[in-house]
């Protein structure tokens, strides 16, 4: 049995266990972090050895293709940045910092598997492995809000899982297969009378995945959980978890329903409209930065679904590129928020007043990320937006593209509200804001990412395009 395809995951689990064990022996602040972040080199190295390999392993439960490998790296990177960003935050749950790091790593393992499997049972387990640690992480802080966030996350995750499973059961019943390729082979035969069953399965699957990617109307948990969870966890939720969801959804639908006589992109097109519009509009009236970013990330999910709806190579490539750009951008934003709230002691946008004078670099970093979210150059977000909507237009989804671009214009209003607070208002309190080295490093890395993805957009698009193409190769 060739285990090399899952060596990154195995080593990641090993790292998580190592961190937990080390936690018993070391009390020195920083050691664990160093081990957790530094240890990521191992899975990264293993992933690197997988570059260029394609194929199906471990009884077809693991897939290796550029798509999977690409996402392995992205999740490792996201995990690393989130870990770094947590350096100061973990003081709030000092006792459990080892477990905190370990759970992040375990969740990352689940995400990596989500991107590299195409078999229902594995998908389900990978999904749960990614989800359950997140519920714990959300509730790690011993306060009412964190616990509430965890409860909401867990309950709705459970409900979604139930729907998802039901959908999978129907698919299984229709085709007798659990691997997506087998399902796609079986589906055309299951047409005709079974349309209703297929539609029901599709809807249930969308509902199940919709939770992960926070698509309307399955998005309700997001703002509450984002607000209540520790900010680095929020970052992780909004970036890594969502990316994993999309990575899975894209592979799932483009593989399983490739031959189905069912217009599944349409469902995403419709949801996309509602998702981005709701996200953007409700964000207009938010006063808490984390909630604001939560709604913004709902809106972003709407944009990504434009890529899903577009289908085809360009759509998929646009989606992947958008996710990458979004990863750096949103991580950057949340890391900045983490650093700021650590000092300012509030997530209220009003308390960001005059931040540009107290912490010019931090304010600039946040602004830069917000600009990227808004899709204005010179940031990754600009290219991502352009590229994503290009896919929609290419596929003739003009109406969707129009709604999309208009939405992105609306979003300016609330992003700029934050910029306004930081730059236009006078500080209420004076005094500089300090940022610890790991957080600064994470922030710098995110910003570099945002800028570099913009500058080297085209080589990177080459990669995303290869990744997307590998999805459609049978």
């Amino acid at each position: 049995m060739d285990l090399t395809p899952i060596l990154p995951e195995i080593s990641l689990v090993g790292l998580a266990i190592l961190v937990i064990i080390l936690d018993f022996f070391t009390r020195r602040k920083g050691t664990l972090l160093l081990v957790a972040v530094g240890g990521l080199v191992v899975p990264a190295a293993f992933s690197a050895t997988l570059i260029g390999r394609t194929g199906s392993y471990l009884f077809d439960t693991v897939i290796l293709d550029p798509y999977a490998v690409f996402f392995k790296f992205v999740f490792l990177l996201a995990a690393a940045l989130v870990l770094l960003a947590s350096a100061d935050y973990v003081d709030r749950f000092r006792l459990y910092d080892g477990e905190y790091y370990a759970l992040i790593l375990l969740s990352a393992t689940g995400m990596m598997l989500m991107a590299s499997t195409r078999e229902l049972i594995s998908i389900y387990l990978a999904l749960e492995l990614a989800t359950i640690p997140l519920a714990v992480l959300a509730g790690l802080q011993k306060d009412a809000r964190a616990a509430e966030a965890a409860l909401k996350y867990l309950l709705l995750a459970g409900l979604s899982s139930a729907f998802l499973l039901y959908g999978m059961a129907i698919l299984f019943g229709l085709t007798g297969a659990t691997d997506l390729v087998g399902i796609s082979r079986g589906l055309p035969e299951a047409a005709g009378l079974n349309r209703a069953a297929l539609a029901m399965a599709l809807v249930l699957l969308v509902a199940g995945f919709g939770f992960k990617i926070s698509a309307v109307p399955f998005q309700f948990w997001a703002p509450d959980v984002y607000e209540g969870a520790p900010t680095p966890v929020t970052a992780y939720l909004s970036v890594a978890s969502k990316m994993a969801g999309f990575a899975l959804v894209l592979r799932f639908f483009s593989t399983a329903f490739a031959n189905a006589a069912l217009d599944w992109p349409l469902i995403f097109a419709v949801l996309s409209v509602f998702t981005m519009t709701l996200g953007n509009i409700v964000a207009l009236v938010q006063t808490n930065i984390k909630r604001l970013l939560a709604y913004s990330s709902i809106a972003a999910a709407g944009y990504v679904m434009v890529g899903l709806a577009s289908g085809g190579d360009l759509g998929a490539s646009g989606l992947i590129f958008f996710l990458l750009s979004y990863a750096f951008t949103n991580l950057g934003a949340f890391i900045a928020v983490t650093a700021i709230s650590q000092q300012v002691g509030s997530d209220d946008i009003a308390d960001y007043a005059g931040l540009a004078r107290r912490a010019p670099l931090l304010a600039f970093a946040l602004t830069f990320c917000l600009i990227s979210l808004l899709g204005i150059p010179p940031t990754a977000g600009f290219v991502a937006k352009f590229y994503l909507f290009a896919g929609a237009v290419q596929q003739g989804l003009l109406w969707l593209a129009i709604i999309g671009v208009l939405n992105s214009a609306i979003s300016a209003y609330y992003y700029i509200k934050v910029v306004r607070a930081m730059y236009l208002l006078e500080p209420k309190v004076l005094g500089p804001v300090k940022v610890s080295a790991p957080v600064a490093l994470a922030l710098a890395a995110s910003m570099a990412g945002v800028l570099l993805v913009f500058i080297f957009a085209w080589p990177i698009i080459g990669v995303t395009e290869a990744a997307s193409r590998s999805l459609f190769v049978r």
Partner: protein, 165 residues
């Protein structure tokens, strides 16, 4: 699996009644402890259904994990939260919840009653444990391992969440 053996038919209906009755007890019961007991009953009913379906290993697992472990956890939680006196109240969504539940049920029934399911080949094994073992440690070894990691994560998580400072 289609069978018209009277004993099986009767068993099916009795077990279904137990299962659904137990579930209804959970939902409609007024007392939390009763609800937990109804849950156990429902789990047992399900185990019976599995036996009817000749999934004996699964029935055993169902009894062990659900009727045993999960139920005990639930009872612990009920006792620890000391909310028994409030009973098992309804919230304001009683009517819309019922409506939506019924709608979903109608949809599912509509699907289930008219779908042509895929036709598998081959006989049903007599010894399901052996087949399951081979399957679990064969094709589904990865999920199996993932499940173990998942349990580890849940274990760690449950401990640190539940622990008092």
């Amino acid at each position: 699996m289609n069978t018209s053996e009277p004993a099986v038919v009767a068993a099916f209906y009795v077990l279904s009644a137990i299962t659904l009755g137990g579930a209804a007890g959970v939902v409609f019961g007024r007392n939390m402890f009763h609800a937990a007991l109804f849950l156990v009953a429902s789990f047992f009913g399900l185990a019976g259904i599995y036996v009817l379906l000749q999934a004996d290993f699964l029935a055993a697992v169902q009894v062990l994990i659900y009727a045993g472990a999960v139920s005990i956890l639930v009872v612990f939680a009920i006792m620890l939260t000391r909310q028994v006196e409030r009973g098992n109240e309804w919230n304001q969504l009683r009517v819309p919840g019922l409506l939506l539940g019924l709608l979903l049920l109608i949809g599912l029934l509509a699907v289930f009653t008219q779908t042509q399911w895929a036709a598998g080949t081959g006989p049903y094994p007599t010894d399901t444990v052996q087949v399951l073992a081979r399957q679990l440690f064969g094709p589904w070894v990865l999920p199996f391992e993932v499940a173990s990691v998942l349990l580890l994560a849940a274990l760690v998580g449950a401990i640190i969440i539940a622990r008092e400072e």
